[in-house]
């Protein structure tokens, strides 16, 4: 049946076109119907369906369905639906069309069966999502979007180079396990790493997600990094290097998150921290670890979306997002407060919330495979994530000192989207078997045994105790209006300054050299001219050289004339 072979991205690309052509209610209906219809379609198709054709020498598979890609396909549909409901109040064609295209590109990338198709969607992800940043229409968001685009496109170019190398080495483009034993492998790894926000190439994320629009960030947080996690899970499972990179990713952002003032940027840092857990899982590479990584990606899309939605609601209603300017909002935004706390509990992996049932798999896998130190680091990061995302976000936005703002709860569509996400967080936490049934491997894992639950609860409650103690002692760093330097300082400040100074010096040297050469040349020319002068004086003392030329011309003309007469 031909219907089955429609790739998942097609409905969204058609949807983008329809959205561009319609207005008002109709547009809203179309935007809601498309992800629902597409999800039902995806639910019905059998696994292992392929769509393939040959283009020149290349055998392309633009649509391939298996358990791993289906998992991401499902959660992308959920994220799409939540994001669309959350943004229903918008009257901004640019954002709405870009969002539909962006969702489609994400789906295209996870169902791509070959590297060339992956590359195309990889670049489309960048090109479509940047409009969600620019749609804020401020000078900062413009500059930030530019930096985002440069880095994302760079990642795509490296992926293309890797793809071409891979083709010449293996004579196939099929997207499967790649590994790190060739140049192609490394190039593809770096390309994935950039999109996955590996340490030192992570700043596009913290930079752009805090500058994008209220609704744009909700979409952004769901797709780009998860596509990269999916790609790593397919191409580099069991690569030990990933364990160490992932461990670094879980740790360093939490320090920045503690001192960051912009609450959406705090969430961006904690997004890197969560992706770190997934990367560790992929690096360990056992069935349990991969299951953990994939299910954590699934849950992260939902709870991180919920947290970004709640902070978006705060920004939308108050126009502020800095911790130093907020506080006491629980008084008039009680629903948002409760929904935000559910998201915070989920990301902190409280038992009975979604984060717990997936993160504990990665932790168990780490200890089973003998990564003891990594396990300790992950434990530290778990306590840390509770500290900055679980406590700091709700505390500084909704409690802390009263900032005097009396904003109401956001519009109904925003609340509905958050409520859907919150119910999913709790549902998955209470009934994890539903999620486990979708996973690529069957490991029979049960997160709810007494030791696990007790250990995690103790860790979290004593982290909370530490927060209270630090706060009462006045040791907790206050929220300050400030910019904190991060790695992007290298390319935003250091490199431009160095280049600027370098060019100044080069141009100075250039100018001096030029003057020197000009001087030498003038001297030389004067010398030759003098010589020439002297020479011409010698040969034509009495006759100017002009008359000489004229007489030669006359002689030649006479000669020509005579030759005609003959």
């Amino acid at each position: 049946m031909w219907m089955i072979e429609i790739p998942a991205f097609v409905p969204f690309f058609i949807g983008a076109l329809l959205v561009a052509l319609t207005r008002g209610m109709l547009r809203g209906v179309i935007m809601i119907v498309i992800p629902i219809a597409s999800a039902v379609h995806l639910w019905m198709i059998p696994e292992s369906i392929h769509l393939q054709f040959s283009l020149f020498d290349y055998h392309l598979i633009p649509y391939r369905v298996d358990k791993l890609s289906l998992m991401f396909g499902y959660v992308f549909h959920l994220a799409a639906l939540m994001g669309i409901i959350y943004s229903l109040h918008l009257r901004d064609s640019m954002q709405q069309v870009a969002a539909m295209m962006y969702i489609g590109s994400g789906l295209g990338a996870v169902f791509a069966g070959d590297l060339l198709t992956l590359f195309i969607f990889w670049e489309l992800l960048a090109l479509t999502s940047v409009f969600l940043i620019w749609a804020r229409r401020t000078q900062r968001s413009y500059a930030s979007g530019m930096r985002y685009l440069v880095i994302q496109v760079l990642s795509g170019v490296i992926l293309l180079a890797g793809t071409l190398f891979y083709f010449t080495e293996n004579n196939t483009l099929e997207f499967g396990y790649i590994g790190l034993d060739s140049v192609a492998g490394w190039l593809v790894f770096i390309a994935f790493g950039i999109k996955c926000a590996f340490p030192m190439v992570h700043n596009w994320l913290t930079d752009a997600y805090a500058e994008a629009t209220v609704t744009g960030t909700v979409f952004l947080s769901a797709f780009t990094t998860k596509v990269a996690v999916y790609a790593l899970a397919r191409a580099f499972p069991g690569t030990e290097l990933l364990v160490y990179i992932g461990a670094a990713m879980t740790c360093f952002p939490i320090f920045f998150a503690v001192i960051e003032n912009d609450l959406r940027r705090v969430l961006a840092y904690s997004l890197i921290n969560q992706v770190g857990f997934m990367v560790v899982g992929i690096g360990i590479g056992t069935a349990l670890a991969i299951n953990g990584a994939v299910s954590h990606a699934f849950n992260d899309v939902i709870f991180k979306g919920l947290l970004f939605m709640s902070m978006g609601a705060v920004l939308h209603m108050t126009g502020r997002i800095n911790g130093s300017e907020l506080g006491g909002l629980y008084k008039t935004m009680p629903k948002t407060t409760i929904l935000c706390i559910i998201g915070a509990a989920s990301i902190s992996a409280f038992p009975l919330f979604s984060g717990f049932v997936s993160k504990s798999m990665i932790m168990s896998a780490a200890i089973e495979e003998g990564f003891d130190w990594i396990w300790l680091i992950l434990l530290f990061a778990s306590a840390g994530v509770f500290h900055h995302a679980g406590i700091k976000i709700p505390y500084f936005a909704f409690f802390a000192h009263d900032c005097g703002i009396r904003a109401n709860d956001p519009p109904k569509n925003m609340l509905l989207a958050m409520a859907i996400a919150a119910s999913l967080c709790i549902a998955i936490g209470i009934y994890p078997q539903g999620l486990y049934a979708l996973l690529p491997y069957d490991t029979g894992y049960n997160p709810y045994d007494a030791s696990h639950v007790l250990a995690q609860t103790q860790l979290l409650f004593f982290s909370a105790l530490a927060f209270v103690w630090l706060n009462l002692k006045g040791l907790y760093p206050p929220e300050l209006r400030a910019t904190n330097l991060d790695f992007d300082w290298i390319y935003r400040r250091a490199l431009p300054t160095v280049l600027q100074n370098m060019f100044t010096i080069i141009w100075q040297i250039d100018r001096t050299l030029r003057q020197e050469v000009k001087l030498k040349l003038t001297i030389c020319l004067t010398y030759i001219a003098e010589k020439n002068n002297r020479l011409s004086n010698l040969l034509s003392r009495n006759y100017p050289s002009g008359s000489m030329a004229m007489w030669v011309a006359i002689m030649l003309a006479t000669y020509l004339f005579l030759s005609f007469i003959q």
């Binding site: 413009y142 500059a143 629980y330 045994d449 007790l454 103790q458 105790l465 530490a466 431009p496 100044t504």
Partner: protein, 109 residues
Amino acid sequence: MEDKKKYLFDHPKNIKRALYLLYSCCILLFILDFVIPRDVSHGWESLWGFYPIYGFISCVVLVRVATWMRTFLRREEDYYDNEGMDDGAISHNDDVKNSKDIGDHHVDD
């Protein structure tokens, strides 16, 4: 906008109650450590009160280190906003600089 209504945490008594609730939960969890037998997969887990102590200490370390990091990472809020505005000599070697000249007004959404 003056709001005379008293809310939940405007009463210091309620804050105290919440804190006492937290303290008692912590004490209870600490005691449970000795009551519930646990499967140990790492040597350290069998240590006396490993998880509570590790959780508490790592948070304190996290916050102290982050506070210390602030001493050398902190800059004024508009640090990056005047990128490239302080020089007239070279204006074509990076795009960030050029982008600053395009619009002077901010349109907040």
